[in-house]
């Protein structure tokens, strides 16, 4: 558990932003849901450190990639929802492409050394 967290749990700030944007592409969600979705979708490999989630959301809002509004959640509680903006969508595409490039490059390097 500890090893897992060490290897996978530390997420670079930009990566978290990207994951959040991706999560929102299916529709608006509030902070709690976003955290759970990321964990579940990654099959608990990625543990979102919830403490850094909200600063990240605020950062995304300041940059205009998401909008926020107050609404009622599934549990009928008041919650703050976040919604992807058009600019955010563009940003997501750009970041996803860049990420894939990086992964491919790393893969090539690892692939070569493995041989």
């Amino acid at each position: 558990m500890a090893d897992n967290r060490q290897a996978n749990g530390e997420m670079v700030q930009g990566t978290l932003d990207m994951l959040i944007l991706r999560t929102l592409i299916t529709g608006p969600a509030h902070g709690h849901t976003i955290a759970h979705v990321i964990e579940h979708t990654s099959e608990n490999v990625l543990e979102v450190e919830q403490g850094s989630l909200y600063p990240a959301l605020h950062r995304l809002e300041d940059r205009g990639w998401v909008n926020s509004y107050w609404g009622a959640s599934e549990n009928n509680r008041k919650a703050r929802y976040y919604k992807l903006t058009a600019a955010g969508k563009k940003q997501l595409t750009a970041e996803t492409n860049r990420w894939r490039q990086v992964v491919a490059a790393i893969g090539r390097v690892l692939g070569e050394t493995a041989e």
């Binding site: 902070g31 919830q50 008041k78 919650a79 703050r80």
Partner: protein, 940 residues
């Protein structure tokens, strides 16, 4: 963007708090759903989220503007610290307020004098036309006759702004002749004798008003819109046009109520009918800040006004190439600079003026055109007040320097007591720069408080200065107010001085060995270190007292002493100058003399009955109970400035000789002793033998060792110096009396009766010797004049002593202000001395106690402290006395009756300073001597 976020921080934080609560609520719900107990659900939820406060903190941080927050925190801390030591804060703020206030007040005058633009549109494109002649004007030149002012350019020739009318026409036809015209408008104005004080009658009520002759396109050139009616147009300014007038806003309000009702009214100017056609806007005052005309009339009306006046305008004057009287201003075309206009016009004017010369001597001394910028109007006021204002500016700057160094000293002393606090802060991690910033915030706060208080003081100061500079006269043309410009300067000054005097103490108090300072039980150990080598208390050197050896503190005190001495010397010089001027021998008795002006010609009287009118009026005035003697003259003696060719028959005229036309009993009324013969009397009038009374000096020069009585003196015709205008027999010799300004030497004067021929009387000044206060007779005088002729108004009512004060008002101003400033400077310096000495004594209480326990006498302690003060003052004097001797020649032109290195002024200044300093040091000295050794040791 970040600034907006910064201000919304609290709101966002509140929202985030709710958000986090909601998140926790959801997580708890989930946990409960997973089957945990409520407490466990809560605990796990919190564990997963982390510390919500920390999250909020992180978000808060991203919206920080670090330096702004730090500055605000510094500011609040500084305010708290200053509030903890109210005594120090109050003294420091007061000192700074005096310094900044004085500077603000004087600067606001300089600003209004030098920088304030005319209230017209686009003043920057206006130029004033002047000419400059290299030689003095006494030789033969093209300027055959002049009406107006010329200025002596410190020995390098003369400058004036008056031109012949044909020259004005030359400039006016600029655009018509060629395509490269540089002026879009050229207009003229004139403020000569005829219009300076005009008799204006409205509905039978007569009064004296000041006027201005203006060319037809004057208002058009200045681009001024009327407040009511219309302004003068070119069609009004020609011979034969209907006589119209435009009045100022203030004049209209005074006489016609609202501006709108002035237009269409008919008024009498010098007994001639004029129709008011409009009113100028309220803020308009013409082009000369020194004069505020109340009535503007077209230039050509001076021909109407001049009829019947011996020296009045004639149509020939408009064609005369050599009579200089008209003043000209122009507006530059867009894109044309002053230099270009000067280059374009100087040769053209040169060419023109050469054609007006009639001989070679004149051709050698032609005036050269000089264009000056006109945005701030004519420089009459500037010429008059620039020098004194600059002197005052220097003095207040010195005061500010003294104030700053004073507060710096106080801060230094105070910093010494805060050593532990600063050391502590630096030891827990505050960088040196951070602490310095904190200390500077304190000093800037101090300076700003002082600045704010100073601005309030400046309001009062400006009012006072306006009164002083205006010489108590009614017109407020020299005035200033606190506009944004001046306030901005005050603010900048506050911040600058705050940093200035805070820097040295801040640097000083953060430079020391941290560890040892923290380990000190009190500051006694540091004292022990440097007092260990000094056992004998009787000889206390500078290095024993103070923050460090020859410390900043000492240097500042010495500087203050030096500056204070300079100001004391300046004050002494000006006070003595004033006293010299006030005790100048006048030759007549100045007490209880009432003077006022009257112009019967302006209200319609003509030769020859005008002389009868003046004579009868004199009789009536003499009959007023309380009036001991009455006479009249063309002007008061002090104002006299009359040159006409007078000499002995057969001899050439001397440029020194002056004359004045007077009425009967002139000498008696003025109480000028008659040395031989008699006074001018009522029996000397038109038709009797022409007589004259000469002054002692005239007699000595022209009749050395002889009896002048019965001899003749001739007044020659101006146009032909061989033809006799008046041939007079000398009937009396009077003692010398001051003629003209007070600073000149006594001139030879000839007194002629005003009613025995040329020059015919025009405006006359009546002189009444009263018993008791002259001004209490004004109403009776007005009544007598009104009964004699209701069309006449008297003007310039004053006492002789009042008139002299007016002449001296610049000297009075300098003397009063410099004395006030010097007292201020000495007070501040002494407060500084007192403060520093007190702190020093307080710091060294323990040591002094020990010494006294070891046997030092009280007297020795007092002497030692005073000796310290004395040494500081002595060093200050050593610096400033040579400086005073060296720089006093700069104010030479403002002094009278003494050399600048006046030993008396210097000695008195030194004595005052020494006395004040020793007084300031005495209290701390006595306090030191009263230290109870046992208490001091226990206090240790």
């Amino acid at each position: 963007m970040s600034l907006w976020r910064f201000f919304r921080r609290s709101k966002r934080d509140a929202e985030l708090a709710h958000e986090l609560d909601s998140h926790l609520a959801h997580e708890i719900d989930d946990n409960l759903a997973r089957g945990m107990s409520p407490e466990e659900a809560r605990r796990q939820a919190y564990l997963k989220l982390g510390n919500p406060l920390r999250i909020r903190d992180t978000v808060w941080e991203t919206n920080r503007i670090a330096w702004l927050e730090d500055t605000w925190r510094d500011f609040r801390y500084a305010a708290r610290t200053l509030a903890k030591t109210p005594g120090f804060t109050i003294v420091a703020v007061l000192v700074m307020a005096l310094g900044i206030g004085a500077n603000t007040a004087i600067y606001s005058f300089l600003d209004s004098l030098l920088l304030r633009s005319l209230p017209v549109s686009d003043p920057a494109s206006l130029v004033v036309l002047n000419w400059h002649a290299k030689s003095s004007l006494l030789g033969d030149s093209v300027m055959q006759s002049m009406s107006g002012s010329t200025y002596d350019d410190s020995g390098q020739g003369s400058t004036a702004g008056i031109f012949p009318y044909p020259a004005f026409e030359l400039f006016q036809h600029d655009g018509a002749q060629n395509n490269d015209a540089v002026f879009s408008d050229v207009f003229a104005y004139c403020h000569t004798r005829e219009v300076r004080s005009m008799n204006v009658a409205i509905n039978g009520q007569a009064e004296v008003a000041s006027g201005e002759l203006v060319s037809g396109n004057y208002f058009q050139g200045l681009a001024v819109q009327p407040a009511a009616g219309r302004l003068i147009i070119p069609d009004d300014d020609r011979t034969g046009a209907a006589a119209v007038a435009v009045v100022s806003h203030a004049f209209s309000e005074k006489h016609f109520g609202r501006a709108g009702t002035a237009a269409g009214q008919s008024i009498l100017i010098n007994n001639l009918s004029f129709v008011v056609v409009g009113v100028t806007p309220a803020e308009f005052f013409g082009v000369d800040p020194a004069t505020v005309p109340e009535i503007y009339i077209p230039m050509h009306t001076n021909l109407l006004l001049g009829t019947g006046d011996t020296f009045g305008f004639r149509p020939a004057d408009y064609l005369d190439n050599n009579y200089y009287w008209v003043e000209i201003m122009a507006r530059l075309r867009p894109g044309v600079s002053l230099a270009q206009a000067q280059a374009a016009w100087a040769p053209r004017f040169q060419q023109w003026v050469a054609t007006t010369a009639s001989n070679d001597e004149q051709r050698a001394n032609l005036p050269a055109l000089a264009l000056k910028q006109g945005a701030t109007g004519l420089d009459t006021l500037r010429r008059k007040f620039s020098k004194p204002l600059y002197v005052l500016m220097t003095l207040v700057a010195l005061i500010l320097a003294i104030a700053c160094s004073n507060v710096a000293n106080l801060l230094l002393a105070r910093a010494a007591t805060r050593k532990r606090e600063i050391a502590l802060r630096m030891s827990v991690g505050a960088g040196r720069l951070r602490v310095i910033r904190q200390l500077l915030t304190e000093s800037v706060l101090l300076a700003s408080l002082g600045g704010a208080l100073g601005v309030l003081m400046a309001v009062w100061g400006i009012r006072f200065l306006t009164l002083l500079l205006g010489g108590g006269q009614g017109n407020a043309t020299v005035h200033a107010d606190l506009n944004w410009h001046v306030l901005g300067v005050a603010a900048v000054l506050s911040i600058f001085t705050g940093v200035l005097f805070g820097l040295a103490p801040a640097l000083q108090s953060t430079r020391f060995d941290l560890a040892s300072t923290l380990k000190e039980i009190r500051s006694s150990q540091s004292r022990a270190r440097d007092s260990s080598s000094r056992i004998r208390f009787a000889r206390v050197g500078i290095s024993g007292i103070g923050v460090s050896r020859i410390g900043v503190s000492q240097v500042l005190l010495v500087g203050q002493v030096a500056l204070s001495l300079l100001m004391l010397v300046a004050a002494g010089l000006f006070v003595r100058t004033l006293s010299n001027l006030q005790s100048v021998e006048l030759g007549f008795n100045r007490e209880n003399l009432l003077l006022f002006k009257l112009n019967a010609r302006q209200s319609g009287h003509r030769d020859p009955e005008i002389t009868d009118f003046y004579a009868h009026l004199r009789d009536r005035l003499a009959a007023i109970p309380g009036v001991r003697d009455a006479s009249l003259a063309e002007d008061s003696l002090i104002n006299g400035e009359n040159l006409l060719p007078i000499s002995l028959p057969g001899l050439p005229t001397s440029p020194e000789t002056r004359f004045i036309t007077v009425g009967p009993d002139f000498m008696t009324t003025m109480q000028i002793p008659i040395l031989a013969g008699r006074d001018i009397e009522a029996r000397d009038h038109a038709g009797t033998q022409r007589v004259a009374v000469i002054s002692e000096r005239f007699a000595r020069i022209n009749f050395p060792g002889q009896n002048p009585l019965g001899r003749h003196v001739i007044l020659w015709k101006r146009s032909d110096e061989k033809a006799i205008e008046r041939d007079m027999e000398i009937v009396g010799v009077s003692k010398d009396a001051r003629y003209g300004n007070l600073k000149r030497e006594i001139l030879p004067v000839v007194y002629l009766p005003y009613d025995q021929g040329f020059p015919q009387p025009n405006q006359m000044t009546y002189i009444l010797r009263t018993s008791g206060d002259p001004l209490s007779y004004v109403n009776s005088v007005r009544e007598e004049v009104r009964q004699a002729d209701g069309r006449i108004a008297i003007s310039d009512v004053r006492t002789q002593t009042g008139e002299i004060s007016e002449h001296l008002h610049q000297e009075i101003m300098l003397a009063d202000l410099c004395s006030a400033f010097a007292v201020l400077a000495v007070t501040i310096a002494c407060v500084g001395l007192y403060g520093t000495m007190s702190y020093t004594v307080a710091r060294r209480t323990g040591e002094i106690g020990i010494r006294m326990a070891l046997g030092a006498q009280r007297g020795a302690v007092v002497r030692a402290v005073l000796g310290e003060v004395f040494v500081l003052v002595a060093v200050g004097l050593a610096i400033s006395v040579p400086a005073a001797l060296g720089t006093s020649r700069f104010v030479q032109s403002l002094l009278f009756g003494m050399k600048p290195n006046d030993p008396l002024a210097l000695t008195v200044a030194v004595a005052i300073l020494l006395g004040a300093a020793l007084l300031a040091g005495y209290v701390p000295a006595r306090r030191a001597s009263r230290i109870d050794p046992m208490a001091a040791l226990r206090h240790e």
